[in-house]
Symmetry: C2
Subunit: 342 residues, 2 copies
């Protein structure tokens, strides 16, 4: 039998191949299937759609328990789920949480994990309504599903961006990634050290971004108050470059992103300097910021600036122009997705 | 720190402990949370509820790829999900399917898996609307989520059984379990054998029950046609004894199950004889039959017999009488859940 390595397709190529035969849907209630942050289902509510998304997180691949506390892991897994609902301009209401656990874990470990889940459910007003538990031969496996809703006239897909639309971004980029780099450095220092004293002072911001991220439900509320419906939206889970390319692909358009417009926090720059890393790489390819990347028509420019906390980092172009990063000296570099898993 | 082994609680004890703090729900739209086959959500449809269920399946624990073909695994994982929707008297419409895969697997393997998913989607009119893919350090991980709907006046929970209700069962018991025993036997024979010739002739029925199970959507339709709404229902995924106990716990009742009323297929009996196994153990504790166990008021007895394909195997009693198996000589044995994972 022919053997094609999965790595030869890449994650997005694999998803495209596996879901290729599922493009035509059977139910009128399936408004949107695979290929966006969440599926959109018409449950018969005349005013709102149901949103559905799921994530799978595996120990050793998606998280490292040598430095990631279980409580934070529970919290962050929930954030990952609801951020996908937020990216459709919706609000999450219910989650299910499933775990596979090996004998290495005890009940007290799981209590910690669920404490984090509970905290997230409190912070974001979610009900945990189900899940599954299974034994595991190795490590911890997590599956999180989130269900939410969005008013029909406020649904935002990845596919609605049009040339000249402004590309907007909330928060800052690369801080969660630099927090991860710091944790990885301290892990290396720990090894072979009997009395480890991690050097975290002054790095609270980037650590918080990695360990206790937020889902930008506040932005969804601000946009609704300002009566703005983005033409497209996605959350930053795989890194800016990857997300811009997803919008370009779904919307059949190009994009120009300006390097000097990318919001990078002071702490991210400092950590990058300390680690001899490149903050631009962190900003473009570091994932898990869970910020929102969205587009609005050019004429919304002033309204967007009045919302606050949103940077315009570029604009949408015709598809043949490609997705480009423009440097301060005017050079153009093609954006490439180097992510991370989605 | 105190260390309580997970095995000391058992799967159901663990679930009870982890979900204890999630019993009060925050949204009026959460009609039913943890503790049934599926969660029930009011999505704003005046006539129907949304149903949501999720399952996690891990290689080496929930399935063994040395004898379980990937195509069948994909099919069966979907059946597992939608059977939980059926157990609420509902119909599944959408699923998400997530996988974690190690480098042992190639794209062609996943094509096979997805061929099975596609077949199930076709047979049961489902739309695949999402999922996640992740790398894995070891083996294959599957997470399946199913969404469906049920008319509000036809919703059935585990909790509505009343004393004197008849306990009804579709299909037969223990055949999927005996199919598994056969596959395990052939696996042992394969080992150290260069030219294995599995002995499957005459055992097609029990193999089909293990490898290509059905979700009893036909029963849901028959019950609706007959205008019967069960007072409680559950699907047989962990074995009859476990499911009867779940109904008794949720409905705060007892039960009497008659051993000589248990439907056991001829092929199941034959295989049990051949393997020197006990068919009663298979019927009580063998899981994955995906048949429906439900209760109806005594006065529905004739109507139920007219539906066809349904056996009355006992009746509901007061809680202090416990859940009992009654043998032909009149002895009473307390039912115990020895399952299997749910």
């Amino acid at each position: 039998m022919k053997r094609t390595e999965i790595s030869s397709l890449g994650q997005f190529g694999l998803i495209d191949r596996l879901t290729e035969d599922f493009k035509s849907t059977k139910h009128a209630s399936t408004i949107l299937g695979c290929g966006d942050d969440a599926a959109v289902i018409d449950s018969g509510n005349p005013e709102a759609y149901t949103l559905l998304t799921t994530d799978l997180l595996l120990e050793g691949i998606d998280f490292d328990l040598t430095y990631f506390p279980l409580k934070h892991l529970g919290y962050k897994a929930v954030i990952r789920g609801i951020s996908d609902i937020v990216a459709m301009n919706g609000t999450a209401r219910q989650i299910t949480f499933s775990i596979g656990v090996s004998a290495r874990f005890c009940v007290e470990n799981l209590d910690e994990l669920y404490e984090g889940i509970q905290r997230a459910c409190k912070d974001y007003e979610l009900d945990l309504v189900g899940g599954d538990t299974s034994a595991s031969l190795t490590g911890l496996t997590i599956s999180i599903t989130a269900v939410g809703e969005v008013k029909k006239n406020r649904l935002v897909r990845r596919s609605g961006a049009k040339p000249n639309d402004l590309i907007c971004l909330t928060g800052d980029l690369g801080s969660a990634y630099m927090g991860l780099q710091l944790l990885e450095r301290e892990k290396r220092v720990f090894k072979g050290n009997d009395n480890p004293q991690p050097q975290f002072a002054g790095h609270e911001y980037i650590l918080r971004r990695q360990l206790s991220p937020e889902a930008r439900i506040d932005v969804i509320e601000s946009l609704e108050k300002a009566d703005i419906v983005p033409t497209s939206m996605i959350d930053i889970s795989d890194g800016l470059a990857s997300e811009v390319l997803q919008i370009c692909k779904s919307s059949a358009c190009g994009a120009r992103i300006y390097l000097d417009k990318l919001p990078i926090a002071r702490e991210t720059n400092e950590m990058a300097d300390e680690l001899n890393a490149d903050q631009v790489v962190a900003a473009l390819n570091g994932g898990e910021d869970f910020e929102l990347l969205f587009t609005v028509p050019l004429e919304k420019k002033e309204e967007i600036s009045r919302v606050g906390g949103i940077d315009v980092i570029g604009y949408i172009t015709a598809p043949e122009q490609g997705a480009l990063l423009v440097t301060p000296d005017g050079s153009e570099i093609a954006l490439k997705a180097q992510g991370f898993k989605s």
